[in-house]
Subunit: 357 residues, 2 copies
Amino acid sequence: MEVYVNKDKYWSERVKNLEPYIPGEQPKDKKYIKLNTNENPYPPSPKVFEAIVNSADECLRLYPDPECTELRKAIASYHNLNEKQVFPGNGSDEILAFSFMAFFNPGNPIAFPETTYSFYPVYCNMFNIHYNLIPLDDEYSIEVDKFFNQKGGVIFPNPNAPTGKVLPLQAIRDILIHNNESTVIIDEAYIDFGGDSAVSLIDGFPNLLIIQTFSKSRSLAGLRLGFAMGNENLIEALNRVKNSINSYTIDRLAIKAGIEAIKDEVWFQSTRQKIIATRERVVASLKAMGFKVINSEANFIFITHQKCNAENLFKSLKKMGVLVRYFRKPGIDNYLRVSIGTDEEMDKFLDIISQII
Amino acid sequence: MEVYVNKDKYWSERVKNLEPYIPGEQPKDKKYIKLNTNENPYPPSPKVFEAIVNSADECLRLYPDPECTELRKAIASYHNLNEKQVFPGNGSDEILAFSFMAFFNPGNPIAFPETTYSFYPVYCNMFNIHYNLIPLDDEYSIEVDKFFNQKGGVIFPNPNAPTGKVLPLQAIRDILIHNNESTVIIDEAYIDFGGDSAVSLIDGFPNLLIIQTFSKSRSLAGLRLGFAMGNENLIEALNRVKNSINSYTIDRLAIKAGIEAIKDEVWFQSTRQKIIATRERVVASLKAMGFKVINSEANFIFITHQKCNAENLFKSLKKMGVLVRYFRKPGIDNYLRVSIGTDEEMDKFLDIISQII
């Protein structure tokens, strides 16, 4: 017989005060056109499968390389860095969590956009870090000068989420110049779908940390792989955090798969170009239907329609087999975020949404 | 040109004060008989490989199930629990880190043995949790009553590390009874090599959390998979922590591999029995050579020799191609921890160590 106690009797104070992140739905009830979690509609490089099959051997009994040396070399070589400037992690979310612990301090508020990736306030809450929300302008753009002189640190995605709007490299540089006493984290989860990566600024700015992921442009959301790039002192801080939590965050198969994924430039270019082309076509069609579409350089678009309530539209789409993402949040609660799928999926989406409106 | 700044200029206060854990060496220089990280000398179940090969498909582009429902069901069914009493994680170390955040509070010291898994003080340092070190007795046993009435919580491995000594279930029960206001974590990484799991106590003790791993008895160190079991309120606390750090800590391949590993009882029994038999044989041979061997119910043994300095022995073994673990720590600095390998490996080890002494 189970003994009854208050649900939170053994919880730490930290846990009692948490408001965990809720990821986009991974539906099990039926087959949807799944445009809700910004996954890549194309499979990873065939070389990834080959690497996994070849690595599924008796070595699985052994711990992986805790430093992921080969993977770091492959990423460093791709981005013209040295391997000490690279930190791989179990998805970019884990690296974000480690970064909040590594670079931000309680009592010294950090800055991020009011409308942005909704995991940032969760990390703040988790690690007791205060924050200033900087509103976007009327066109949903980040106002660069409002991010100057932020003593506690700065973080934002580029392109921003869920808007898809990108900042040019010059704007990133301005933000870095005006925050030389604190760490500036650029979350480049979606950078391969349009914008310019700030990786070229790493050597000039010892306070710049860039986080990228294999989940979107490399089609490996299911394998949990992300990486940070920056000055080696920043990377050392991340290693110190990792080695105080879990010595081996990336398994043997993911290491091998990541190496092959980053090497297969032909596959990478062809799939990302297809997604960009599809996005541009879908944007044109939606505009023709009367949608307002924010300029996106990501693998998703953020859309609104003057005559259709977004929440109702979300529900109707779901009923008709299309999953998109709706955020019940002031300022963006009449928008939908739609991931870019294959041409076939997006044709169906356009067909269904035109029927609804 | 890289700009020079103080190494720790952008580090958080937390990072500056860290003393990260150093895992056992994963050598790349030459082929060793590797008895230093308690890996299983036998490969995982053949069904694990089959599952990985079958899952290396285009679904890798999609996020895994954040709740790992199928894996939780498989583990729950194996241990006669319900799936809400199970929390899987990226290795048991990650679950330990989450548990320190979920159940322990700064300002309320927890208790663990003075000689134990050396990651515990690292977590305390990381999350600012004070601790009381409880000395082992002269025979390296945990003294049960010294763990009574610990207001902040209790954690220890059973069998203990690096001694391999096990506590009987009645002792665990006594510790639980005398700590009904705080969480007691039993780290059962090595339980399958001899001791009795406390899993049967879960329904009676809402403050009991048990942590196990696929890394040792299931031969999957390379795949990063562990799990916690306990009252569903404790499991909810772990989920709240996880969902404030990383929604998906276990990848699609590890989920499938874990399900097959836990189902293959024949493989599990045969490999663990082989390891136990090898251990008993090695212990007898070492004793015949004059070694003192602490009674071990784990897949490693903790040994000392009156006439041989352990650090020198460690170095000589390494020179002769055998890696074991040496801890430069008062009280145990004349001991070596030796993982149990295959019969062939252990015969070589016995041969080499007899030459040295």
